[in-house]
Structures are given as structure tokens and as C-alpha cells.
Amino acid sequence: MLDLLLRALLGGLGVASVAGPLGAFVVWRRMAYFGDTLAHSALLGVALGFLFDINLNLAIIVLCVGLALVLVTLQKKHIIATDTLLGILAHSALSLGLVAVSFLDNIRIDLMAYLFGDLLAISQTDVYWIYSGGLAVITLLVIFWKPLLAVTVNEELAKVEGYPVEAIRLLLMLLVALVIAVAMKIVGVLLITSLMIIPAATARKLSQTPVQMASIASVIGCLSVCGGLWASYRWDTPTGPSVVVCAAMLFLVAYTLPFKRLR
């Protein structure tokens, strides 16, 4: 039992640490709905992974990045308003994933675990995946921090100064896809975005620089994982949703208590 909890805690902390800084970018660039769309499509990645017998994490990453590229292309063509486009893609991808999963009769899939996460079902291999994926994300974030931030602050200025704006935007999508792939086990496709944006939004209240906001978001995400896991153990509540509820409570606390607003 203790082993199980420890593994869950390790996995959860790993995911929360990377979801925080990346969530900050999602918040700054107003990509929350975009993240949601990618996350929803991850289920389709799982189904395809089973179908073609390839590594699930890999399948999810490939599908997310592919969908991100499709999204950007469609967005440029101005066929329809972006939020409508995202709504169409998000729910079509999710439904397509559910339909595809139903065709896999010879494999039993715990659908609830993929939709809402199951922190307690996490395996040793999962922990390795989380930490290697997470390390890759953090390394890329650190190396490309300045260009990522410059493009986020003002794309035109960045372009005139010679930053490769398109490549940086693509990198950010790749990072979001990676985080979704590693976070799915913990909070599930429906709740992944919340683990990115709620800690980041909470951190906004407490920070004065982008680096501060990204690091505080990590810490808040980790606190939420600890709290959610504890609640789940104590009252036998579902772990993924418990973590999200905990994050939301921290958000409320940060914005209602009279902290000095740092601006």
C-alpha cells in the first residue's frame, strides 16, 4: 500500500512540476481551449496506439502534434472563428476516440481511467515515462526560455529582432503535447488542462516576473497533488478530480485572502 502511494506521489509531483511552467505559457498565450482540444484528442491517440500496437505515449504525442498542425493550418485559412473551430475539433476528436475504443473488443480498456485519470494505478514504467518526458520538457523550456517568452510577449517585435517565430510556436505545441501525454495517466484527458492552468492562474497573484510565476505554478501544482492524493486516501475519492478540486481551492484562497497584489 505504501509502495503504491509513494509511486502515485512521485508520478503526480513529476507531472505537476512540468504542467506548472507550461501552464503559465498556456495562460499567457490564451491557449487554454487549444490545450483542451489537444487533450481531448489524446484518447484517440490511445485507441490508435492499441490498434496499431505502438507505444501509447508515442501515439498520443504524434496525434497531438499532428492535430496542432492541422489546427494552425485551418486557423490561417480563416474558415471559421477559432473558438468554434476548437470546439468542433475538441469534441469530434474525443467522440472519435470513444468510438474507436469501442471497436477494440479484444482489449479491455478502463475508459474512466483515461478520461479522469487514475493516479493509484500508476506503474513503475509510467513513473519512468513521466520523469523522462518531464525532464525533456523542462530542459527544452530552460534552453528556449528567452525566445519562447519573447514570442509570447510580442510576435512582431520578436520576428523583427530575428527570432524564428514559427519554429518557436511549433516548439510550444510540441511541449504541450508532451505534457498531455505524460499527464494523462494522472488526471485523464478531460482534466489535464486544469492541472496546467489553475496552478498558473493562482501563481499570477503571487508573482512579479515570468520565472517566478512559472516556478510558483510548479509548487502549487505539487501541493495540489499532495492534497488530492491525501483526500483520495482519506475519503476514498477519485484521485484525478480530487487533485483538481484541491488546485481550485488553492486558487480561491490566493484570490480571496488579502495577499499584497504584486503588479
Binding site: V153, E161, G162
Partner: protein, 262 residues
Amino acid sequence: MNKRLVAFEKIGIAFDGRVLLESIDMTISEGEIVTLIGPNGSGKSTLIRTLLGLQEATSGKVVRHKTLRIGYMPQKLHIDPTLPLTVKHFLALVRGVDKRQILPTLEKVGIGHLLQSQVHVLSGGETQRVLLARALLNKPNLLVLDEPVQGVDVNGQVELYNLIESIRNELNCGVLMVSHDLHLVMAKTDTVVCINQHVCCSGSPQHVTGHPAYQALFGVPGADESIAIYAHQHDHVHDEHGSILADEGDAHAHDHSHCHHH
């Protein structure tokens, strides 16, 4: 002889069949302040976006000197309020910036005390100065300023224009400025290019303000007219030219007969 930094050669831009610019010829040299004027929707911003590489020209080309290095000051700065950012951090984002230059550059534009301020709380004039500092930190030999005095009161405008001139004198860089009208920028400008889809007229400020094509767009400037009256006339002309496209076509035909003075 100051070297020529940029030459626009017969630049034309059309978008969805609508002509935004046609056959624009223009040059900017080191040490020269060129002011681009024209009514709303005349294609001023589109032209400088072509120079910056943010917009592809449909025809013609932009010839850039091989040493060209642009410092760009956009019209305004929108930073999402969820992104906490001090002026110092904003300026540190310049590609390849020497961080020791940040404070001296801020002091040069007169806002050294704002180093640790959040960018969200700056006034219009302060924001423009921060943007100017960012443009300068890119070590440019050409400053491209898109409506540099937007949202700044009249006194502030005069100060900003003085500052831009003193920077030009110090660095001997070229300056390409976009402006709504000539009134305040006049004394600081070497060359004025008046555009309305095409180049209506260009030359020294005195030459341009006396030009019929300019007067057709901006009215006849009187030597002792107050700024308020002048500004009023100016707004009035904007409405006419902004809203009625058929008339603009006519105006073109008319203007063409006076065109291409250099």
C-alpha cells in the same frame, strides 16, 4: 555621402483583389529622418510592415543595405495582464542584448526610474519610451517608428520628437516614422513622403505642405493657425477618405497629375 539603407522599388501590395499600395518608390539613407504621412487606411503601416518582413509585397522589391539593422517601435504594446513583466525583463528579451546596456538606454530615453516597474502600469508616453528603448537595444542603423507619439499629449509629443532627433544626431541612424499629420513632426523631418495607396508627393516638409496633392488630403496649412483648428480639419478629411472608396479612386486620378515630384 551617407549610405542608402533602404530602397523601395515599385512596391505594390494587393489583398483579396483590393489594392493597398501601388508602385511605391522611396529611399531612406543614414542620418536621414523620413516621415511617412497619409490618411487612415492609406497603406502607411502596410508599407513599413513590408520593410520589416512582416508582409510580402505582391510586386516590386525592397532593397536593403547589407549592414541594415532595424530597431522597430510598434504602434502600441499589448501584453496580456496575466503575464507579470517588469520593464527590465521586457527589455532583456531583445535578441542578443547586452544586459549592461539596459539601464543606460532607459536613461537615454528619460525613464531610468522605471526599470523595475511592471509594463502594465505605464502611461502612454512611458510605454512609447520603453518601446523606443527596446528598438535602440537592437543596435539599429535604421529606426522604424510606427506612430511613435500615439496616445501622448501635445507637450509629450514635442518631447518625443526632440528625443528622436537627438538620437538620430547621436547615432547618425536613419529614421523612418509614420505619422498622421505633419504639424508637430515638421521641424524634425528631412523628407516627407505623403502616400494614399501611391506616393502623392514627397520632398522637404516645406515643399510637401505647399503641394496640391498634400493640400487635397490635409487642407491648406496656415502659418498662424492654432493646433486645435488644424487638427479638426485633419479629422474631417480622414472621414471622407476613409469611408468612400469610389471617391478615393477619383482622388487618385486627380492626384496622379501632380505626382512624382522629387
